[in-house]
Amino acid sequence: MAAKPSLKNKGRGKGPKGSSSSTSSSSSSKYELVKEWTNWSLKKAKVATQYGFIPLIIIIGMKSDPKPHLFQLLSPV
């Protein structure tokens, strides 16, 4: 078990030395930022599609020729 204390020292040693690896962490954090942004935009796109897809079809359909009336859209016949 002589390997264990050296591993623990390595773990503690990294704390104060964190500033020297800031360049690698900033590039990795850029990647993290890009990932977070794409996740956020995908979530918003999913909500937008869920709410807006059917209204989009209805708007495109009501603008096509011959233009149907609003009454035809709402009545069950």
Binding site: T49, F53, Q72, L73, V77
Partner: protein, 309 residues
């Protein structure tokens, strides 16, 4: 697709098929899309049997735009731990749909009462390149899927690129080798269960029969054969074997297209016999009856429905 057949097609319809007919290899017809390779067999053998009541009402507002309302009531199966028992939960839902059909753009959307949206888009970007998108979005987290396909149609080949959510990439290619034979292949890479696969397919069709075969590295080997006996009757048979999980299924089915009705039925080597009847009661009014008897699991499903418009 009939106008894409080479001029030699009329010579083939004459009773005798001569082996030494000259084939114009530079003018082959465009093949069937890769995912529709076995479409004739699917029509007979994978008819959509349902359980319970189904009522579809579809109202056209003009040539291109229509709305649809459907009500479905019946038990839906929930996957259960043991393969012997099937758990069914009775559910009822209403689905509102809107369709827009244009020669260049097709939009189909279906929204259920529990917030699930099923959306399909097909847009012709140019006259050779088609974009298709398909999505099932739901309110539950991690239960939404979306897939985008780019299809390119060449003179005698088709190529497709697929992108799906959770890092799924696939590509398929199919080429006409002779006027009757087309060969194709597909490759996919899935990110979440890290696996990739490759598959090959072949399709041979004449006026009277269609035979297809597919092999994939996911372990499936599938072959099917459809014989068109007459304008009204066709018979199909299918054999699927998975060499990794050692599952094998063979089925035989029929498809009768009559003047007022259409009956499709099949029987399986798993002990499943099923049938679907669609009867046209009058103009725009269709009556559906579906039955599926699974003798091995002792699960019997019956359904009836009405389609208006």
């Amino acid at each position: 697709m009939a106008d894409l057949l080479p001029p030699l097609g009329t010579a083939q319809i004459d009773g005798k098929t001569k082996v030494d007919e000259k084939v114009d290899y530079s003018n082959l017809p465009c093949p069937v899309p890769y995912e529709e390779l076995h479409r004739e067999a699917i029509m007979s053998l994978k008819a959509d049997n349902f359980e319970g009541l189904r009522f579809d009402f579809s109202k056209g507002l003009n040539q291109k735009f229509s709305l649809s309302h459907s009500v479905m009531m019946g038990p839906t199966e929930v996957p259960s731990q043991s393969p012997d028992t099937t758990i069914k939960i009775p559910t009822a839902h209403y689905e509102f749909g809107a369709n827009y059909f244009d020669p260049k753009l097709m939009l189909i959307g279906r929204l259920m009462t529990d917030g699930r949206l099923n959306a399909r888009v097909k847009a012709d970007l140019t006259d050779r390149l088609v974009l298709k998108a398909n999505g099932q979005l739901s309110n539950e987290p991690h239960m939404s899927h979306a897939m985008f396909n780019f299809d390119y149609m060449g003179s005698d080949y088709r190529a497709q690129l697929q992108l799906g959510n959770s890092a799924l990439i696939g590509a398929t290619y199919i080429q006409s080798v002779t006027p009757r034979l087309s060969l194709g292949g597909e490759v996919f890479w899935a990110g979440v269960p890290r696996k990739s696969g490759i598959g090959y397919a072949a399709r041979y069709d004449t006026d009277k029969m269609v035979a297809t075969a597919q092999v994939a590295s996911t372990g499936t080997i599938a072959m099917n054969y459809v014989q068109k006996i007459s304008e009204k009757v066709s018979l199909a048979t299918d054999f699927a074997y998975n060499y990794l999980s050692r599952d094998v299924v063979a089925s035989v089915g029929y498809d009768y297209i009559l003047r007022q009705s259409r009956v499709r039925g099949k029987i399986d080597s798993n002990g499943v016999a099923s049938a679907l009847l669609e009867e046209r009661l009058s103009m725009g009014l269709n009556f559906l009856l579906s039955a599926e008897l699974d003798h091995k699991k002792k699960d019997y499903k019956f359904g009836f429905g009405l389609t208006v418009g």
